[in-house]
Amino acid sequence: MKLLTANFLTCAVKGCKAAASSYPLHFKDAELELQEVDFQPEFIHNIIPRIDWEGLRVMANELGFPKIPDSKPEGDALNDEQTMRDLHRLLLETHVVEGRLCCGNCGHEYMIKEGIANFLLPSHLGKTKNSIVEIRVYADGFPL
């Protein structure tokens, strides 16, 4: 599972969709793996406008990846080879093999095993309004 995936994910619990804190999900105990691929600056140039920069920055900081610019690179910054190589490493080469993805709203944790994240919800986190109320109560007492 490439790290960039998290830029497109949110909590699967219906009641969390409207909550700002359900994105980005937070990696916990992430075991990272590097799989080298050829440096493709053109690909990075095309990916940058597709991603949510704030979400990427939060994720990179939480994983201790220090070299992410504070704002989305534009213009001349796109020609800075070191920045592009750092982004290449983060976006295309870094995988999460084991760990968890956690929702900042309800506290639910999605397990990642062998690079496959499990977003299936246990039956008590179902879809009806009643069960969403239950989740919120549960989340209030959850040390986030």
Binding site: F8, N46, L120
Partner: protein, 287 residues
């Protein structure tokens, strides 16, 4: 004809084996009309498209589109994603997609896992033409219910070959215990039958799962997003298309939706047996 991704590694005891409907998907996406539409809809100067296959099974459809994206989309810089309820299918999909991209886009033919000389020759030719070519990338396969784990506006191309067979009811969603090895032979058989039922059982009119996905499309698709959904004759595809054309969103319902038949097979007495609908937002009207 573009090469079909290899699925020799896929255990078909709990995963849907590529069949007529899967191949209709491949033929539709690679048809001249669809390739032209997609290339025009996602010009190479626009941001890299995300491609999600929902309920990917063997992963053959997603692998086909990702590996052949230079031909079908006119660009290789695509990010592929997949979901399936069955963990075994998630592992299979990942392998199918990664292998297909390597087989068709690998610029080093000596390490390419291509199984045919034709693929190897094509890879070698591509390598000579452009040694630092962009290669499509598979981001991840998630064990997830439809597109529910994706955030709003995150998907540019969504593919769905749903469980469309009319059945009395739709099966329950699987839990972790459905994937631990079963004890007896009969338990194992029951387990496999259950997981396979997820691949075809569509409930009332075969539409219950498809309806859930359609209801989520306006949320998960980006403004430029397009969905491809396969339907069978009993799903009444023309009525479904008509209904989608009635969707409205935005201030005063300014944005409408389009639905067109992008591909079909098996015409009998004027009715298609299988249909693939292309669903997308019409251009946002200028003031």
């Amino acid at each position: 004809m573009l090469p079909t991704p290899c699925t020799a590694h896929v255990p078909f005891d709990t995963i849907y084996e590529p069949a007529e409907d899967s191949y209709l998907f491949l033929d539709t996406l690679s048809s001249a009309s669809e390739t032209a539409w997609l290339t025009q809809h996602f010009p190479a100067t626009t941001p890299s498209p995300t491609i999600l296959e929902v309920g990917s099974g063997s992963g053959v459809v997603l692998a086909f589109l990702a590996a052949n994206s230079p031909t079908i989309l006119g660009r290789a810089d695509v990010l592929s994603l997949a979901t399936d309820l069955n963990r075994t299918a998630c592992l299979a999909t990942r392998e199918t997609v990664v292998k297909a991209i390597a087989a068709q886009q690998n610029t080093d033919p000596t390490t390419s896992p291509s199984t045919t000389d034709t693929n190897r020759a094509a890879a070698a030719a591509a390598a000579q033409e452009n040694p630092s070519a962009v290669k499509s990338t598979h981001l991840s396969t998630l064990q997830s219910n439809l597109a529910s784990s994706f955030k709003a506006g995150s998907i540019d191309i969504l593919l769905f070959n749903p469980p469309y067979v009319p059945t009395d009811a739709v099966p329950r969603a699987p839990t972790a215990t459905d994937f631990v090895p079963a004890g007896s032979r009969s338990e194992q058989f029951e387990r496999e039958s259950y997981l396979l039922s997820l691949t075809y059982a569509g409930g009332k009119d075969g539409m219950e799962i498809t309806e859930r996905l359609l209801a989520d499309l306006p949320r998960v698709l980006s403004p430029r997003g397009v969905g491809y959904v396969l339907l069978c004759a009993q799903n009444r595809p023309r009525e479904v298309a008509e209904r989608i054309r009635g969707w409205r969103e935005g201030v005063d319902g300014a944005t409408g939706w389009c639905a067109e038949i992008a591909g079909f097979s098996g015409v009998k007495a004027g009715w298609e047996k299988l249909v693939i609908l292309r669903v997308w937002r019409e251009c946002i009207r200028e003031e």
